[in-house]
Amino acid sequence: MAAAVMSRCRSRLRFSSRWFFRSYFSSDSSGTSGSDPPAADTPRSGFAAAFDLQTEIRREAGNSAAGLRGSSSGQDESFASLLRRSPLVQMGPAKDRAVVGRIFHVVQDDLYIDFGGKFHCVCRRPADGGEKLQRGSRVRLRLQDLELTARFLGAQTDTTLLEAQAVLLGPLEGRENRD
């Protein structure tokens, strides 16, 4: 009982202190620029309410139009244009290209990295920065080949290893700097 009364007093005190702060700031802002609107919690009326409503409607109309345009352009885009604009085609030959991959499986020292191609690549964990690289971490790679294939003697078709080949350059540094 006493605890409930105490908590109620404390909350009332907190609320009153917040109100004091808000009034202080609003008075400060109204002091600096006289025509500033009042604090956000007081209801708008008249022209201010109408203006708010109209800006909301215009913003929503703009968003929905952009969304529709985006989705319709996604539906209407042909396979040929999708292919032409895809990163894989824009990249060109895969030899010695730097790409970003993501580790999706780890077997002790082997890292299985997916970089957005048909196959994944398998790289050995580097000795120095190896412990940071776990499942889900993003790494930089230098691609050598998108698919390891070779035609052996007497065979009709190529034998494929169902893997790509890439050299692991290290973890993606930009993310750590951003964090």
């Binding site: 996604g74 539906q75 885009e77 042909s78 396979f79 999708l82 292919l83 895809s86 894989l88 085609v89 060109g92 030959p93 895969a94 999706f104 997916d114 957005g116 191609g117 048909k118 196959f119 998108l146 698919e147 294939t149 035609r151 078709t157 190529d158 034998t159 494929t160 169902l162």
Partner: protein, 269 residues
Amino acid sequence: MAARALTKGLLGLRQLRAATTGYSCGGHQYATATAAKPLQPVHDDVSEKALSLPLDKPDFFRVAELFSVKDLFDARVHLGHKQGCRHRLMEPYLYGCRLDQDIIDLDQTVEHLQQALNFTAHVAYRGGVILFVSRRRQFGHLVESTAQDCGEYAHTRYWQGGLLTNAPIQYGPGVRLPDLIVFLSTLNNVFQQHVGIRDAAKMNIPTVGVVDSNCNPCLITYPVPGNDDTLVAMELYCRLFKMTISRAKDKRRQMELVHSLTAPSTPSS
């Protein structure tokens, strides 16, 4: 071993259920002429209307809405193998070859996939047994869980030689074979085609198969040219098949309820 026992048990159960409800699907229930007499299909107005109604429209289950070219593109379905691995009979389905890598034509894939999903939906609507087959070890669990989620069957382990062709002797007389086999990868390893394709063609079982640029699309009833090596693509196929089969089964339940409510009361057999 356990998978085979499980398949056998489930197939036996399915046959009992089919016998009690009286729906028959296809004439390949028996591989050889055995002593047991075939089931007499029970026809009445309700089931006849329910069975014939979906056949009036070309896309009754609206499977074309489930995916688009953009979805296939984002799932890397258009990426094929290298030029040297190409199968001669896959050339009509290829858009071209870019820096030695074959690109599969997604416009054709969309049409083939729509036909395959439509057929799967019709088979599921009529209470058919669908078997998912894939020998890719990295996607075995995905395929098995897909089959379990939509209430159908999967076989992702070693394929015994006489599984379809010698079924009455291996599993006992009166075993019901699958009505549709969906191959999510048609190859055993990179050199051999899956034995199930040839066996299904021998037993008159229609097949749906995802054929990559190094696969042979000949014996498959509804080939779907597409990538079968990437996880994203396999997840897309599994999701599409699961949605199609669930949609078809829900439609069947709905149709039965509607017709049984509106039809006049018939004396039960």
